[in-house]
Amino acid sequence: MMIYLMMIDSPQDRSKFEKLYREYRGLMYQVAYEILHNEQDAEDAVHQAFVKIAEHIEKIEDAICPKTKGYVVTVIESKSIDLYRYKQRHPTEELSEDALGITIDYDGPNILAKCMAKLPANQRTVLLLKHLHGFSNREAGKIMGMTEANVIKLHQRGKSRLCALCKEEGLL
């Protein structure tokens, strides 16, 4: 039985995660450190992010590609923000509110993309996970550490905020 189970594990999936880890761990650490400003916390966030990535490894087609790079950055950003919030509830050191989320400078022609860049990080994350990476509400909830119902609410709030920003930009 054990031999059979070992055989049905895809060899591609087996090496994919390791390849992904070797390629992106430094970048993920850097993104986490930008948010958390603490080495230990940044490593914890990277580990938590990889746990979530491992749980959905079948969703990744190619370990080394721009889409996957965007996905791992989205996950590490989400995990770093989670840890940041947790640290705020259990403060051991000062953390700046400005540090929340990564800054995206979009200078392209797509107004909707420009507005999405202005969204709060968690709303942007849920939109990226669902609309770019193809995750269901349940899967996105697992990655972001929230219930499916909260993902739906967050998604709705993100879309509403996006509509408001688009109106400000004269798109709607």
Partner: protein, 226 residues
């Protein structure tokens, strides 16, 4: 009205902009802590065999439930106890567990000692517990010899690590046993055997060769300390 297609298209552009703002992966090196590397190595092993680990977790839960059920049955049913007297070996991943169930009506508590103590070893710790007696001997180099044996017939257990060990079946004083020989010469070898007639499980471990451990095991005697 913003459609899902519009959001998907914008998300793609936003992703590209986000990547443009990030440094190349080659430029992001960091010396991760040992603790982090250990955690990640465990995760990589799990990720390599996701179904295997899921199966192993389920199997461990089922095994635990079965063992607990079996133990409960042993506690309440004399018939079951009579049917399963002896020692039972359970293998799980990197650990071998030995359970012993005896017949209390015919058990006589006895003290055991090593008859042929290796040269230079003296007793430094002796602990007579409720279920097990443990004696530790040490030499001038700080090497230890651990000797223990069971003192109850009621669900006693030994667990021995198998990862990094070669396990060999042996006989000690005519009784079945197993020898654990470490691949690392700096780690202890162990010898475990069960005397079903006396209803005792013995265990020896230390930096000794196969022959030395068997010789020490053969010398274990009842009653008289030498």
């Amino acid at each position: 009205m913003i459609t899902d297609e519009m959001i998907a298209e914008a998300a793609l552009e936003l992703n590209a902009a986000m990547l443009k703002n990030l440094p190349d992966t080659d430029c992001c090196s960091h010396a991760f802590s040992v603790g982090f590397e250990k955690k990640m190595n465990r995760l990589i092993r799990k990720a390599k065999h996701p179904r295997l680990y899921t199966f192993a977790q389920r199997a461990a839960c089922i095994l635990l439930v079965l063992i607990l059920g079996f133990m409960a049955l042993l506690a309440v049913s004399p018939t079951v106890r009579a049917g399963v007297l002896g020692w039972i070996k359970e293998q799980y991943e990197t650990v071998n567990s030995y359970f012993f169930v005896g017949d209390p009506s015919s058990y006589e508590p006895t003290a055991y000692y090593i008859g042929s103590m290796p040269e230079g070893y003296t007793e430094i710790i002796s602990n007579d517990g409720a279920a097990r007696v443990a004696r530790i001997y040490a030499n001038e180099d700080g090497n230890w010899l651990n000797f223990s044996y069971t003192t109850t017939t009621d669900r006693t257990m030994y667990s021995l690590e198998t990862d990094g060990y070669h396990v060999r079946e042996v006989f000690v004083q005519g009784n079945p046993g197993e020898l654990y020989l470490s691949e690392d010469p700096a780690k202890n070898n162990s010898l475990i055997w069960c005397d079903e007639e006396k209803q005792v499980v013995f265990c020896l471990s230390g930096l000794f060769s196969r022959e030395e451990l068997l010789q020490i095991g053969e010398s274990v005697t009842a009653g008289a300390k030498k």
